[in-house]
């Protein structure tokens, strides 16, 4: 049954909500990546099970399908695959660039910091003694320093995306079902990719692909299918109830005294809420957040045009650049905090400066891409692809 792929949802106009929430997610990821940052109290991970990573991966899946889905339908499987792989390569290069910066920081700390109290912790620097192994393992994406796990996940997801997209365009529900099956099998059989020197990937690609493929499924017509569900009052009430429940549970993490209100059977059933394997509770929390968000922020919500939200939207439109910058700024911020022995004022200042730099850079990239697009007429027709495809 060779049925034509369904037309992509009003593909002409980009859904600014995606950019807005991806931009916000990038800010939150930056704030969360500065250890002990007082400002990170405002980020959503403290108020529920899921965090900015879920938002980032979902929206990345959505935009990847949105952009490359059209390419695959109009220009064929081979060209679309080539573009997807080129994107994966760009992200790989970005990741290795960040790794180099990380190595520089580590090497600096290794040569300047000493304290007998931390003799054991400082052994983390031992890998500098065998750079041959370390760098090689980093190139293989097996050695991933702290907070550098998201891009390798993204790379793997994109590498596997061409065949997934192929199926998604023809039998979206089968593709989504297959993705859910892989997720379930990963849980059942303990699948994950190996890491160096030990253990497994912090973001298990077998599990997290579900969110990416679900995002892609939504982009290719799934969102309309879910429209009926999303408009139902029952779903809204359930979603809000679940968000409140998650919020109450997180309160018991922050306030030891509230812990006694947590029933033992519930804790036994619920904990641990696993981030590595994208716990079902986290996934459900993301779905509930998304359901409520879609309900209260409709596609043509006038606020999306407001200059107040513009900075987040621009950041979301250049997510790879801004994500990498955020990782770098988190390193740099952590470094400054360590050199000056920290303090809440400094943490707040660094958080604010970091976000301002991210926004400024996003505007700069936006301006530059605009100039480039105008100066080479052949690229104009791919403007939207550049906007998103650059940023799938």
């Amino acid at each position: 049954m060779a049925m034509a792929p369904p037309p992509v949802s009003t593909a002409s106009e980009r859904d600014l909500r995606l950019d807005l929430f991806r931009g916000l997610a990038l800010w939150l990821i930056f704030l969360d990546h500065i250890p002990d940052n007082i400002v990170s109290w405002i980020t959503i991970r403290n108020y529920g099970f899921s965090d900015a990573t879920e938002i980032f991966i979902f929206i990345s899946g959505y935009t990847a399908a949105f952009v490359y889905g059209r390419t695959m339908r109009e220009r064929g499987f081979v060209l679309a695959s080539a573009r997807i792989l080129r994107r994966a390569w760009q992200i790989y290069v970005a990741h290795i660039f960040l790794f180099t910066i990380f190595m520089a920081e580590i090497a600096y700390v290794a040569s300047t910091f000493e304290n007998p109290l931390y003799a054991e912790e400082m052994k983390i620097l031992d890998f500098l003694k065998q750079p041959d192994v370390t760098i090689f393992q980093a190139l293989l994406l097996k050695f991933k320093p702290v907070n550098m796990d998201v891009l390798p996940l993204y790379i793997v997801l994109l590498l596997l995306f061409p065949p997934v997209l192929f199926v998604l365009l023809r039998h979206p529900n089968i593709a989504l079902g297959g993705s859910a099956l892989v997720y379930a099998l990963a849980w059942r059989l303990g699948w994950n990719l190996p890491a160096y020197p030990n253990g497994v990937w912090f973001f298990n690609p077998y599990a997290w692909q579900l969110l990416f493929v679900f995002g892609a499924w939504c982009a290719l017509g799934g969102a309309q299918k879910l429209g009926v569900v999303l408009r139902s009052r029952v779903v809204l009430v359930l979603a809000i109830a679940y968000l409140v429940f998650a919020f109450l549970v997180t309160l018991t993490w922050h306030f030891e005294s509230l812990d006694r209100f947590m029933p033992g059977w519930l804790a036994d059933w619920m904990y641990p809420i696993d981030k590595t394997d994208l716990d079902v509770l986290r996934f459900a929390h993301f779905l509930a957040l998304a359901a409520v968000t879609v309900r209260f922020v409709p596609r043509h919500w006038p606020g999306l045009k407001s200059p107040l939200l513009r900075p987040a939207i621009v950041c979301g439109q250049h997510s790879l650049e801004i994500f990498c910058l955020g990782v770098f700024l988190a390193f740099a911020g952590q470094f400054v905090i360590a050199e000056s022995s920290g303090g809440p004022v400094l943490q707040t200042a660094i958080s604010l400066i970091g976000i301002i730099l991210m926004v400024a850079t996003a505007y700069l990239v936006s301006w530059y891409k605009g100039i480039e697009a105008r100066s080479s007429p052949s690229r104009v027709k791919s403007r939207d692809a550049d906007l998103a495809g650059g940023e799938a």
Partner: protein, 253 residues
């Protein structure tokens, strides 16, 4: 004139002595919320009240020891022993430390049965997590090792206090201890055992300005003071959780 000089010298001497040996107890107190005592240490209570002794075994890795001259004497196991002796005069307190560096939790879980048989402790303080974080052990495997070791301790008829990692801000961006700390919190909660939240306590000291944990130094002074404070805090947790406070000690005499 000689008198004034002597007086000045005495003051200078006293001042110097104070600077060299600052009074620790007042400066590194730990709030109650960071020292939970809600699980009973029955074996410890019995050991002290019935047998007038207390045998404690510390199992851990490098962060339970101190290098340098007389390191073992200044590390927290010895400080704990001293603090308990000071606070429970007449009780024969003995703390034995098994803390070779580079031990993972799996290594320690495997070594525990023999250690328990040799030491016959009433209480095991099990410091874990740092080496596992260093080696990138899978947190699931880490949890299984903890469970295995805790089963062995329960079988041997001893109480246990789990101790998590040090707060180490300078290595925070390279060494991710949070997943392991989470597992330890969760395991302690689930099994109803005490956790000595070294991570939270040292973080508190850092926030309060008690210690500048960012400071680079080759000297041992700060490391010793931190260990002394950890030993004291541990002693408080043990005494409170086992209900060994002075008033009760009097009545049992």
């Amino acid at each position: 004139m000689t008198f004034v000089l002597a007086l000045l010298a005495a003051i200078a001497f006293a001042g110097g002595a104070v600077a060299a040996e600052p009074p620790v107890a007042s400066s590194c107190d730990v709030p109650d919320r960071l020292l939970p005592t809600d699980e009973d240490l029955a074996h410890v209570g019995a050991d002290v009240k019935d047998r007038r002794r207390l045998a404690i075994t510390v199992v851990g890795s490098g962060s339970s020891a101190l290098a340098g001259p007389d390191g073992a004497r200044f590390a927290y196991p010895a400080q704990l022993e001293q603090s308990l002796r000071d606070r429970m005069p007449g009780i024969d307190v003995k703390v034995i430390a098994h803390v070779p560096s580079r031990q993972t939790t799996a290594d320690m879980a495997a070594a525990l049965p023999k250690i328990l048989a040799d030491d016959q402790p009433a209480l095991v303080i099990w410091q874990a997590g740092t080496v596992d974080a260093l080696r990138g052990v899978d947190p699931d495997d880490f949890r299984n090792s903890l469970d295995q070791g805790l089963d062995a301790i329960a079988t041997a008829g001893a109480n246990v206090i789990l101790m998590n990692m040090q707060y180490s801000p300078r290595t925070d961006s390279m060494l991710s201890v949070a997943p392991f700390a989470d597992v330890m919190h969760w395991v302690a909660e689930q099994r109803g055992i005490l956790l000595f939240d070294r991570l939270g306590i040292m973080h508190y000291w850092s926030d309060e300005g008690t210690f500048d944990l960012y400071a680079a130094t080759t000297g041992y002074a700060m490391a010793r003071r931190v260990h002394e404070c950890i030993g004291r805090a541990l002693a408080s947790q043990i005494i409170n959780a086992a209900h060994l406070d002075a008033a009760k000690m009097q009545t049992t005499r």
